[in-house]
Amino acid sequence: MGEVSAPNLEKFSLMTTKLGDAIGWARKFSIFQYPFVTACCGMEYMATACAHYDVDRFGAGFPRFSPRQSDVLFVVGTISHKMAPILKRIYDQMCEPKWVVAFGVCTCTGGFYDNYATVMGIDTIIPVDVYIPGCPPRPENVLDGLMKLQEKIQTQKQEVF
């Protein structure tokens, strides 16, 4: 019978943390986003997502076109009243934990639209975590909003479902 030697712990680097912090760290750097793109802000979203600004540096470079597989709902562009029930259904289909980013001033407040067709801010339909105003917002603006979202994900109470 050979002897089982104790593992040499010195060769491992160890770090202690709290479970909530570790989960928050993992969640904030693995954002699977659902781009709900309806209008011109989509161009700026693409500019942010592509190589020059490279949203993948923040771990959010992977768009999932299924709400069931995504964490963050990017609402990009004007939402009309006809579109509103669809947006609500997409939001309801997403699994917890989930966050919503209002991208562009139309989604924040309705923007310069004040008419029979446009929803005056998506927060009248679904809860919003980060507002990124601008018509459209610059990519730097979007990345700033994304970092604010990461900060929120890191510091919030982590529900383990």
Binding site: H81, K82, A84, P85, K88, D114, N115, Y116, A117, V119, M120, T124, I125
Partner: protein, 143 residues
């Protein structure tokens, strides 16, 4: 015969719409084979207009390369006229848009229902007496 920024413009009677427009398309000398546009104007509160609505047909001939504007006055008490969807298939969606936005109906249209707004929408959004900021959301708060 009048002039619409260099192109001829004619007014015709509402009863004659389908007959005249069909003739404009089929006449060999005119051959207006393209319906470029079809839209409506709401002349509410205009003293000089006897009838509230005007439907405007923008015709073009791809062989003769000439244009013609045809206007039809439509009264408020009976906002309807003949459809030309059987003459130009392009008129199908244009007429649905005019129905959706102005509430002018087209007799003989194959599928006259709203095209831009949702079916639950009450009224017609581009009528001058529809308040521009009146909202009828499907979900969410009213205003």
């Amino acid at each position: 015969m009048m002039d619409q920024q260099g192109d001829p413009l004619v007014y015709i009677k509402r009863e004659a719409v389908s007959k005249v427009l069909k003739a404009l398309k089929e006449d060999a000398g005119l051959s207006f084979d393209v319906l470029m546009d079809l839209f409506a104007v709401d002349y509410l509160h205009w003293e000089e207009k006897a009838d509230r609505f005007e439907i405007i047909y923008n015709l073009f001939s791809s062989t003769k390369l000439h244009r013609l504007f045809v206007k039809v006055a439509v009264p408020e008490r009976e906002p309807s006229l003949d459809s030309v969807a059987s003459v130009w298939p392009a008129a199908d969606w244009f007429e649905r848009e005019v129905w959706d936005m102005f509430g002018v109906s087209f007799k003989g249209h194959p599928n006259l229902k709203r095209i831009l707004m949702y079916e639950e929408f009450k009224g017609h959004a581009l009528r001058k007496d529809y308040l521009y900021n009146k909202r009828q959301p499907l979900i969410g708060p009213m205003n």
